[in-house]
């Protein structure tokens, strides 16, 4: 099953290399990885989505925890939280199809962030399945390219991941 891990690491050069190197060396199945700054200047937070059974997950967590720059790993799977991903989708859009695409965008509560004579760029933030669904519908119009950030996740309630 899929697990979402919040990995807090030291904000130092080489940390991402250490993490991505370990993931590939140990042949873990990573669906997505997203990194960014946090409320603490010295900490970077990496959200990793991994496809793993219980034993594999134990190994992922244990091996990542061994890295000196990894401060804390929290499994957010099954914890009440907000899981989001952002996608930018460039679709073919002629004057005939444009209004149809606008309807789809409205239904998905997405945003149109760029329009020109032949294409539109749509921005959607949401759970992975929602983005997948939008992509599927837009496929009929011809998708030129898609970029997705990978999932980020945050638990609900007052307790931060570092204390979970």
């Amino acid at each position: 099953m899929k697990h979402t891990l919040a990995v807090l690491v030291e904000n130092r050069p080489g940390v991402l290399t250490h993490i991505s190197g370990l993931i590939s060396r140990r042949a873990f199945n990573i669906e997505s990885i997203a990194a960014g700054y946090t409320e603490e200047a010295e900490t970077t937070r990496i959200t990793i989505v991994v496809e793993a059974d219980d034993m594999e997950l134990e190994q992922v967590v244990n091996q990542l925890s061994k890295l000196v720059d990894v401060i804390k790993i929290t499994d957010l799977t099954g914890i009440d939280g907000i899981h989001r991903e952002l996608a930018l989708i460039k679709v073919k859009a002629s004057s005939e199809t444009r209004s149809d695409i606008v309807d789809i965008v409205d239904i998905f509560r997405a945003k149109i962030v760029d329009v020109n004579r032949e294409t539109m760029v749509i921005e959607l933030t949401g759970e992975e399945t929602k983005i997948d669904a939008l992509c599927e519908v837009l496929a009929d119009h011809g998708i030129i390219e898609i970029v997705r950030t990978g999932k980020v996740a945050l638990s609900r309630g007052p307790v931060p991941a570092k204390d979970l």
Binding site: G14, T17, H18, G21, E58, Q59, N62, S65, K66, V68
Partner: protein
């Protein structure tokens, strides 16, 4: 105190109590070497960087101290890679200081530039690139702390060339602050209760002793445990030496070239207590059939070893120096006194296996048998030597036939299986224990991979005795070709024109060769008694196999037996 980066490194080494450095200078570390020169710091100059790292590794294994290596940027650093991987696989503490090109040149494919941090990331416990001189004291402190604590391992400190010359206000930190690194020492004592209950219930228990016992210096505790519980024990390759080979509870090496008794015991036991082991595939054979009837208890310092290979039923996480005394303390003498009696049928069974199929080999008087060489050295040294091996058949015969007596007296590349390891590791071991007899067993293949270190041995007058078991083939690979590839010896014939006696002598090491069994004992006596270094080349048959053998991927109890 104001000083240069190079001086700060030397001062840090003094602060860490480093007695000797193994290294090889070069352009990027000129300033560092100049500081060593000024400080007159003890330094062993090897003839290849790989020799330096293996030597530091051998030194670390016998002393328990951190081995320190220095090398220059680019090729100097990349020549360390095999040695770093060797140390990483066997959890050996090393700190390796490499020069890097100047900060302004990093990333521009400059002369002798290699991204050694990137290259060594998967084979180090941690690594650093130091681009600011102020970072040096903290990085050095952390490097030694990380290398020697928890599960030990190698740490690379790559230092940009201009950092060596830059000035800083030096003060060495007393403590380290690493939010992400909290090595486990003491674990949860409560987990010992179910462990003891399982030990008490077991009718066919077995202790499985690994390299972690050597690393944590808990051989005494393990022996006490075996004696108080009456449990028999088997050893991984890295666990050799922890319990004397002749100890009645010791049933020897387990795994691919393990003893019949050890492999049968592992297959039949109902409780397997792993102490500082990582259940390597060379031990387990076919994983699904490893210890199939047993509950498995795993004692280890590294949480990542839990369930990595073998699914365990109970774990005791923490340093063995904590867990073993805690366990011994909880064992009630009144209860354990009854255990050996209760285990009598099981011990009887093991003894039967041992008698039925002891380690043996064909006794011949026309050729010198390699096993006889090891046995004779074992007798002559009374098991008191520090025994170093290369990799392959020589290593397995030594593991099987040398009678070990002391922990820390066994130096071998277990995990990585690095050919060329023996000679340099042996010289490092001799530097670490000058008063002991250090013996290197190598094959004719492995010795050639780092034979330049004969020069180092001679130059420093290190009294290492190197025994080359010359079978003129890449023996272990040829054995597999014989057994599994229909005798098609693809490129394993190493017979050439190299005269090993002349080779050693050319570098200043006295050498002898023997070919006849009757020469064996007397020549060995003479060689071992020499005050300085010496080489003895022993001609052995080309087709002798290491047996027993569990073929790759087979069950542990499916052994090809040997001996006649």
């Amino acid at each position: 105190m104001k000083m240069t980066g190079a001086q700060a490194i030397v001062a840090s080494l003094k602060n860490e109590g480093v007695k000797v450095i193994f290294g090889y200078p070069g352009g990027a570390v000129l300033t560092l070497y100049d500081a060593l020169y000024a400080a007159n710091y003890p330094h062993i100059l090897t003839r290849h960087e790989q020799g330096a790292v293996h030597a530091a590794d051998g030194y670390a294994r016998v002393t328990g101290d951190v081995g320190v290596v220095m090398a220059t940027s680019g090729p100097g650093a990349t020549n360390l890679v095999t040695g770093i991987a060797t140390a990483y696989m066997d959890s050996i503490p090393l700190v390796l200081i490499t020069g890097q090109v100047a900060v302004s040149l990093i990333g521009r494919d400059s002369f002798q530039e290699a991204d050694i941090r990137g290259i060594t990331t998967p084979i180090t416990k941690h690594n650093y690139l130091v681009k600011k001189v102020e970072q040096l004291p903290r990085v050095m402190k952390e490097a030694f702390y990380i290398a020697r604590t928890g599960r030990p391992g190698p740490v690379v400190v790559d230092v940009a060339k201009d950092v060596f010359a830059a000035e800083l206000e030096y003060s060495y930190p007393q403590t380290v602050e690493l939010r992400g690194y909290r090595p486990l020492y003491a674990g949860d004592e409560a987990v010992l209760e179910p462990v003891m209950a399982a030990m008490s219930r077991a009718r066919r228990p077995l202790l499985f002793v690994g390299g972690g016992v050597n690393l944590s210096r808990t051989a005494g505790e393990v022996q006490t445990l075996a004696e108080r519980t009456g449990f028999p024990l088997v050893l991984s390759l890295m666990g050799l030496g922890t319990v004397p080979s002749v100890h009645p509870r010791n049933f020897g090496l387990v795994g691919m070239h393990g003893t019949y008794a050890a492999n049968m015991a592992t297959t039949e036991c109902d409780l397997l207590v792993g102490l500082g082991v990582r259940f390597d595939d060379r031990v387990t054979g076919l994983l699904e059939h490893f210890a199939p009837k047993a509950k498995v208890i795993h004692f280890d310092v590294d949480p990542a070893e839990v369930n990595k290979n073998v699914r365990t039923d109970m774990r005791v996480l923490g340093d063995l120096k904590w867990s073993l005394p805690a366990l011994l303390q909880r064992l009630d003498p009144a209860e354990t006194a009854g255990w050996p009696g209760k285990l009598a049928p099981w011990l009887g069974q093991l003894e039967e296996w041992r008698q039925e199929n002891p380690l043996t080999y064909e006794q011949r008087d026309d050729v010198i048998m390699p096993q006889a060489v090891i046995e004779t050295v074992s007798e002559l040294t009374r098991g008191e030597a520090v025994v170093v091996t290369d990799v392959g058949q020589n290593q397995m015969w030594t593991a099987q036939f040398y009678g070990f007596k002391h922990p820390g007296s066994w130096v071998t590349s277990g995990g990585l299986g690095t050919m060329g390891y023996g000679l340099p590791a042996g010289l490092g071991a001799q530097v670490g224990c000058p008063e002991k007899q250090v013996i290197v067993f190598a094959g004719d293949g492995g010795i050639m991979m780092n034979c330049q270190e004969f020069d180092t041995v001679a130059k420093f007058g290190l009294p290492v005795k190197v025994i080359i078991l010359n079978n003129r083939v890449l023996g272990m690979v040829a054995q597999w070709q014989r057994m599994f590839y229909g005798g098609r010896y693809a490129h394993t014939d190493l017979s050439g024109r190299t005269d090993f006696v002349k080779l050693a002598e050319a570098m200043g090491v006295p050498a002898l060769r023997i070919t006849e069994p009757r020469e064996l004992r007397e020549t060995l006596e003479r060689v071992l008694a020499l005050p300085g270094p010496a080489v003895l080349e022993v001609r052995i048959p080309s087709d002798e196999d290491v047996l027993p053998m569990v073929p790759g991927g087979a069950r542990l109890d499916q052994m090809v037996m040997g001996g006649r």
